[in-house]
Every structure is written in structure tokens, then in C-alpha cells.
Symmetry: C2
Subunit: 135 residues, 2 copies
DNA sequence: AACTACTTGCAATAAATTTGCAAGTAGTGT
DNA sequence: ACACTACTTGCAAATTTATTGCAAGTAGTT
């Protein structure tokens, strides 16, 4: 883990290890506030902001935008194209894999008169989980 | 236009008409800041916040989240399932239509053990426009 | 063990968003 | 046209969120 951080060009400091470690332990993207709160006492909130920003630029971390909430962050896994499905009632988040983005990218380029390449995408679903749908 | 606003349950006041009118004139989603700036003198920024919030709840306006920028807003067109393609260099935004969301929604439900229904989705593409790709 | 550039925490700023409230006005009924 | 009332607005102030400056601390190196 320290290795990963160094490879990304950073020093493997305690705060960085703490943040990175926390991110490896979550299956859901986390907000700055959640991270800062959990790391309180160990890592200053300002440092969380700075680290997330740096990790993001280095590609270690991905920013996830879901409707109606502040941005959340998760570790990047380069070979994994997963997306999120969010319950609009209870805000539960689950992952799903696969999406027709490559195909859609090609289709979009065909439609477009000013774009020349696709480099990324976001795709998230919103719905109701089995618990909330009965209410 | 005043009619649309009334139908949504609001009074057709000057500030509301100004905001709504501005939104009908843009082909790109706009941020609170952009809107407030353009309507400066006519509409207070606080009012823009409040109106956007109310319009959003009423379904007149859709919130659009694109990477790395604050939320933007555009008028909802119920029969139009368009999405955005964003140049990661110059931030240009273009629309494209159609996306495999229905199909993917079904696939996601199949994968999921806790979700029961899909009610919405986001899908946006990032890439380079013809101008920026040559740089 | 010493060195140095990168990091961190704390305090202070700045920016974004929300709230309270008196004054203004659209829509209604007269 | 006039008055009435609930909905709206603008302004100021409070909150919340994010950024910056800088002295002190520390990882990685010599």
C-alpha cells in the first residue's frame, strides 16, 4: 500500500496511509466529510481535502457524482468499469458492472459535429430497493 | 410561459419569468452562478437558489452533474432523453440522444440482489473535441 | 545523523449556500 | 378598479464548505 502511494509520486506518510487504507475498506464511495469524520484525530480535514485532490490528479481516486449529494470518492481500479445504482428513497448504493458505453460513445461521435474522441463516461442508475418499493 | 409556471404551482412573477426565459434560451446547462450573473440587477442570487430549488422539485428543471464543476441546470423536456458529451480540455458541452439505459437497467436489476425498480439514470460522455484533439 | 523537499495542522480567508424577516406583488374575490 | 392575503422577493446575516499561508514536522536520501 505504501508502495502504491510512492508509485503515484507521494511520500507514504501516516495520514496518507490512513486515508488510503480507509478507502480500501469501503465498498461505497465516501464524501470528504465522511472521511474527515472517520479520520478525526488522525488527519486534519484540510489534509483530507488536499490528499483527495492530489490522489484524484494522480488517478488513484475517482470522483463520483450522484444526484443531490456532494461528491464522493472511491479508489480507482483501472480494469474495473463498475457503476452505481442508487435508491432514491434510502440512498443505498450498490455496484453493477458492464454498460454499453463503448457502443454509445461510437454512436455519440457519429451524431456529433464537433467531437473527435471519447475518453470516459459516467453512468449511474436510480431506482428503488426492495425494501423501499413496498412503502 | 407564464402558463407553464402557473401549471407547476407557482405565481408567474417577473423574476421567475426572467429565469425561465433565460433557461429556454440556452442550449447548455447553466450553473447558479452563471444564471445569477446574467440576471444580476433583475434577480437576486438568493432568489435564483430558491427558484432553481423549487423548479427542480416541481420537475421543471433538471440538475446536471458533470465532472469537476458545480451542478448545472436545464429545463426538463419530458419526452427527451438527451445526454451530454463534454470536452475535458475546453469544457465544451454538446448533446447527444439515445442511450442504452433501459436495457442496462434491466441488466442491472438482474445483477442486483437488493434493487427492485429503475426510475432514472445519468449517462454522460467525456472526450476531446476536434479543436482540442490536435493540441 | 544530518539534510531537504515534501507534508501536515492550525488559523485565517474566501466562497458557496441557507435562513430570517420586513417589504412587495400576483392572483382572487368584491 | 380596489382590497385582501398568501406567496415571493431582496437584503443582511448566519452557516457551511473549501482554499490559502505559514511555521513545524517528517519521509526518503546522503
Amino acid at each position: 500500500m505504501a508502495e502504491t502511494i510512492r508509485d503515484a509520486g507521494f511520500r507514504a506518510t501516516k495520514p496518507r496511509l490512513a486515508l488510503f487504507s480507509r478507502l480500501t475498506k469501503t465498498s461505497r464511495p465516501m464524501s470528504i466529510q465522511e472521511l474527515a469524520q472517520e479520520l478525526a484525530g488522525k488527519v486534519d480535514q484540510v489534509t483530507v481535502y488536499r490528499m483527495i485532490d492530489a490522489f484524484k490528479k494522480a488517478g488513484l481516486v475517482r470522483e463520483v457524482h450522484l444526484r443531490g449529494v456532494r461528491p464522493k470518492y472511491e479508489l480507482t481500479d483501472p480494469r474495473d468499469d463498475h457503476h452505481h445504482i442508487v435508491c432514491t428513497e434510502c440512498r443505498k448504493v450498490e455496484d453493477f458492472v458492464g454498460c454499453g458505453a463503448e457502443k454509445m460513445g461510437k454512436e455519440a461521435l457519429r451524431q456529433s459535429r464537433s467531437f473527435a474522441a471519447i475518453t470516459g463516461h459516467t453512468f449511474d442508475l436510480y431506482g428503488l430497493c426492495k425494501e423501499c418499493i413496498t412503502k
